[in-house]
């Protein structure tokens, strides 16, 4: 599937762009918090336009128990071990944020119908590493690290679980958390010996839902952390202040020589750009500021809630979402200091700009997205996190989530919602579920890193 002569992935980002078009997509879907007493599951979606099942869920792998809240996931291997012929991109690691279990799913034996290969038991993770609230999964060559947002009792800052290639617990990855108050997402760029991590909040703070007052009580993050990747310890903090309230997703450019990266500050609805200056100093600046929007029922203007962010494989475009406003945006970042808005589409949201898309009433807004390696097809889902969905979009209980596809113009810029693609998770056999993160079997724009 990876189309390589040796290990998984691709020799370079430019090789990855040339990969064959994806035919399958894996997306997690949850029942946790919906009132339906069924397990969360991994859905296989047919995205081959030539197939009679195009735009349909063609398989559902249910987790063994209920209440996991599947959220993000990652591959056992990526282009970081392209040169290792013993490795293959075979397993998807799917953590349950609430249960603490890590499900290792075999997607290679039968790509249409993935099966459960192993469970890294959540209780064992707590006992051996004192971690809970798993989030981002990255592979490190042949090994795997997963960020956790809390200790075994759900208090910040959590840390990093280290698994070996057989998915056995090695222990904690980091040598020190320094004075980091919160954890969330991370990305690393080995040629600069750097990792950058961001901050959401303690599991005990964000899992029950969002209380705005807790931002003022400093229960939510507002910093980025620069790590010495080899020494596995944080060395510098960027305090973003009011410009960087709740900095969530963090991505470096795919070019392994680049030191430029981006973070979306969800509550401030700003994009933070960071880079290493010619004096080897880490710098940051705010490059995109989405204004809050007035709403007749709200006492204060609605913040965008920029909950995710993605860089195209060729590093030309940055994509952001505004979950409460309802728009997805494309920026040309050829000059990362001066992004240029080149595309925007609307789906759902609270501003009423696109309540119905492709015949489906959207409850929620654009929230998680995955971009094809060639940069032309973006798959977008609408649910954020069960308790937060319930607060901002209560109708999602009965309507469920939905997946759309956006056609992205990689030559001239521009975005358009594809009229032929819609997966309505409100119509799932066990009742309305909520779809979240997606992955392609051949790798994607939010997993592969080059050494």
């Amino acid at each position: 599937m990876d189309g390589s002569c040796c290990g998984p992935g691709y020799a370079s980002p430019s090789e990855a762009v040339k990969a064959p078009q994806e035919k399958l997509l894996y997306s997690i879907a949850i029942y946790t918090g919906t009132g339906i007493q069924k397990p969360d599951y991994l859905a296989t979606i047919d995205v081959d336009p030539q197939s009679s099942n195009y735009s349909k869920v063609i398989h559902r792998l249910e987790m063994p128990g209920i209440g996991d809240e599947l959220h993000h996931m990652g591959w056992n291997a990526c282009s970081s071990c392209h040169g290792d012929e013993k490795m293959s991109r075979k397993y998807l690691l799917v953590p349950g944020v609430r249960s603490n279990n890590i499900y290792v799913v075999d997607t290679a034996s039968n790509p249409i119908a993935p099966c459960l290969h192993k469970i890294v038991d959540g209780a064992e993770i707590k006992t051996k590493t004192n971690l809970s609230g798993p989030h981002t999964v990255h592979c490190l060559g042949t090994e795997i690290i997963i960020s956790f947002l809390g200790d075994a009792k759900g208090e910040a800052p959590g840390g990093y679980l280290h698994l070996n290639k057989d998915f056995e617990i090695v222990g904690r990855w980091e040598n020190s958390m320094g004075d980091i108050p919160f954890s969330y997402d991370f990305w690393y760029q080995p040629r600069h010996n750097v990792m950058v991590s961001s901050e959401w909040a303690a599991p005990n703070t964000f899992m029950p839902g969002f209380d705005l007052e807790e931002v003022g009580h400093l229960k939510y993050g507002r910093r980025l952390h620069i790590w010495d990747f080899e020494k596995k310890k944080p060395i510098e903090t960027m305090y973003l202040g009011e410009d960087g309230l709740i900095p969530l997703e963090v991505k470096f450019m795919h070019d392994p020589n680049s030191s430029h990266g981006f973070c979306g500050a969800a509550l401030s609805a700003n994009v933070i750009h960071f880079w290493k200056s010619s004096q080897d100093k880490w710098e940051w600046e705010k490059i995109i500021d989405v204004d809050n929007e007035p709403h007749p029922d709200w006492p204060i203007p609605i913040p965008g809630v920029m909950s995710a962010l993605l860089v195209s494989m060729d590093d030309k475009y940055l994509y952001i979402n505004n979950w409460l406003h309802g728009d997805m945006r494309q920026y040309n970042i050829s000059d990362p200091h001066n992004p240029v808005l080149t595309g925007q589409v609307w789906m759902g949201g609270l501003l009423g700009k696109a309540p119905i898309v492709n015949g489906v009433k959207v409850t929620g807004g654009p929230q998680m997205y995955q971009l094809s390696l060639d940069g032309k097809r973006m798959y977008v889902t609408t649910s954020l996190f069960s308790t937060w969905d319930n607060q901002f979009y209560p109708e999602i209980r009965t309507k469920g989530g939905v997946m759309f596809m956006i056609d992205c113009d990689v030559e001239n810029g521009g975005m358009q919602i594809n009229k032929d693609f819609v997966v309505d998770f409100g119509k799932e056999p066990n009742g309305p579920s909520r779809c979240h993160e997606s992955r392609y079997p051949g790798g994607d724009c939010t997993s592969d890193i080059w050494l």
Binding site: T32, G35, R98, S99, K153, G154, E213, E214, D297, N390
Partner: protein, 124 residues
């Protein structure tokens, strides 16, 4: 033994010892209940207490408004008396609120950061 009545399940009655969390006691007797973290941190298992008294001191998920509205985190709560509950998402009408439209007062925050009413009145 305490009697636990589930009001929105035809007033079905379960007898519990009060030595284990209600989630465990009720599930072991066949009541289907949602749950997540199982340590009192995530409110997936929240139910509404209509009558009775529980000990849920170890919960860390609920803010004081949710507690005042009767919500109980079943995965850590133990029954101290006979209790009547509404369970499942049907009982969650007041559990979730838009935090911008309906903000919390200082005394309604989670107990570790709440400012009690007396304290507010005392301040100049």
């Amino acid at each position: 033994m305490n009697k636990i009545t589930i009001a929105n399940r035809n007033n079905t009655i379960f007898e519990v010892k009060g030595t284990k969390p209600l989630l465990l006691e009720l599930r072991s007797q066949g009541l289907d209940l949602p749950y997540g973290c199982q340590y009192g941190g995530c409110i997936t298992c929240a139910a509404k207490l209509i009558h009775g008294e529980v000990d849920q001191r170890s919960q860390v998920a609920l803010n004081n408004r949710q507690i005042n509205d009767g919500y109980v985190v079943l995965c850590v709560a133990r029954a101290k008396t006979d209790c009547t509950f509404e369970i499942g998402v049907e009982s969650h009408d007041k559990l979730y609120r838009n935090p911008f439209i309906d903000p919390l007062s200082p005394h309604e925050l989670k107990s570790n950061i709440a400012i009690l009413k007396d304290k507010i009145n005392e301040s100049p």
